[in-house]
Symmetry: C2
Subunit: 284 residues, 2 copies
């Protein structure tokens, strides 16, 4: 009798450990001008999976962990976020969360790889569902170029990028952060995904060195992401004048919380309490 | 040319996903009267790994995530914890953290499987290092029997068990929790590991139904565990009269925090802020 071993998708970090997911049918697999874009069914409760260059970007079953945290933590700390920029994030999950805020008049998505957008619209409709919203303007272009001449345009900028290698690399420099800072309106906030504090310590350390050169206020916050390395992720909350937790949009609280699987006010406040090892990594 | 595929230890939950770790040499592998006990080297930054019945118990590289959280959250909410009981926890990690508190006169470890204790003393010395401390009394016996006649004995009881199947099953019943409650002194606190809120929802739900039958105060708290399902874990804080966060042992704060990789007061306070989906699971 021959046993057919079930196929596993595994992503092993340089540390020698990582995630394994039962793999099903491949729905989309193509090389774009920038990266390999792949979407497959998992034989798991996580549903469909998006990978870029064979690295986990999201699963349908846990993407809300990431998207609720990158969007609502800064959005709820701004009294009236009208104009929002999302850099990267071609899957549309961050745009979906941003558009839950009634104050928003326009969200610009600046994604370098049109293939990611098209594939997600077709195969990940619960994630990409707001990309056709008339308030969403999609720019398929390099955010590094786009940001060079922007000034006083955005209330919130969200850097929803891949890791600091490949197409995402130029998004992790002090030059780029300086351009983002200039693009913010007064009272504006930038949030950037900032890797796994447990599994990618050197990337995290380097990134905060760059960020702190540019932003006088720069505070990490963290949350659980089941399918990312270490099950734990950090985002950098950066601003010229807005201290973390100095403002809370109570008028939008009920509307946002009722649509979220994770986000609520207590959870929001708790995000900025850090483990000792992460404090030492960033401030030590 | 033949490529030798590197061996991976994978633990796939019933949900169809889980952890993968590069596997090295097996140091210990035996069947005890209760379970298969195994310790192996990983070819990873996680160091050595302990499994029971092929399920992940701990790695040297991340065990502090679990042990700091199960021990210090209740210990720091008691003004003078002198007598502590650890149920399960034969690896010694919880005992090690408990004994950091100068108030402790005795910690009793009640572990059913002596083989776990012996193997961990030999192969996981950084975890088991306090099991020979004169303040630690080791009982190799079934906690279900042991707890039947204990009354007014412990300030803190920590249930550091395996999952609710196999040898650990009887530790998840209202009868057992009733015996634990009777064993607590006035102002006493029980904390029980309570599974993965993301990956083991049905186990979590059932457990809190049992706990709430017995304890008038029963509050989950959560933290990141990189190598447990979903990277996210819950513990139940239970008491007859102590509300969570109603007391903090400031006199011990400095001593404890300086020895910890995660634990600090802000992080402690933030543990009780829960995501919506966990609140709904337990209270809904």
């Amino acid at each position: 009798m021959t046993l057919t071993q079930e196929k596993l998708y595994t992503e092993i970090t340089p540390g020698g450990y990582g995630i394994a997911i039962k793999r099903g049918e491949t729905l989309f697999s193509e090389q774009s001008d920038y990266q390999k874009v792949e979407i497959f069914e998992s034989n798991s409760t996580l549903g469909r999976v998006l990978t870029l260059d064979d690295l986990m970007m999201l699963t349908e079953g846990d993407e809300w962990h990431y998207h609720e945290m990158i969007a609502h933590i800064p959005m709820m700390q701004h009294p009236n976020p009208e104009t929002v920029l999302v850099i990267g994030g071609g899957d549309g999950g961050t745009v979906r969360e941003v558009l839950k805020h009634k104050t928003v008049k326009k969200v610009v998505l600046c994604e370098i790889d049109g293939m990611v957008i098209d594939a997600c619209k077709k195969y990940l409709p619960t994630v990409a569902c707001e990309l056709d919203n008339p308030k969403c303007e999609i720019l398929v272009e390099d955010a590094i170029e786009y940001m060079k001449d922007k000034e006083n345009m955005f209330d919130i900028v969200l850097i929803d990028s891949t890791d600091p290698m490949g197409p995402g690399e130029g998004l992790f420099t002090d030059e780029f952060y300086t351009n983002v800072k200039r693009s913010l309106k007064k009272g504006g906030i930038m949030v950037a995904q900032s890797e796994s504090p447990f599994a990618q310590t050197e990337s995290v350390r380097k990134m905060y060195v760059q960020l702190k050169k540019v932003f006088p206020i720069c505070a990490p916050y963290t949350s659980n992401i089941p399918t990312y390395p270490g099950g734990y992720w950090a985002w950098a909350f950066c601003s010229e004048e807005v201290e973390p937790l100095s403002y809370y949009a109570e008028d939008r609280e009920q509307d946002i919380v009722k649509t979220c699987k994770i986000y609520n006010r207590e959870y929001h406040n708790a995000r900025f309490a850090l483990p000792n090892y992460l404090k030492n990594l960033i401030h030590g």
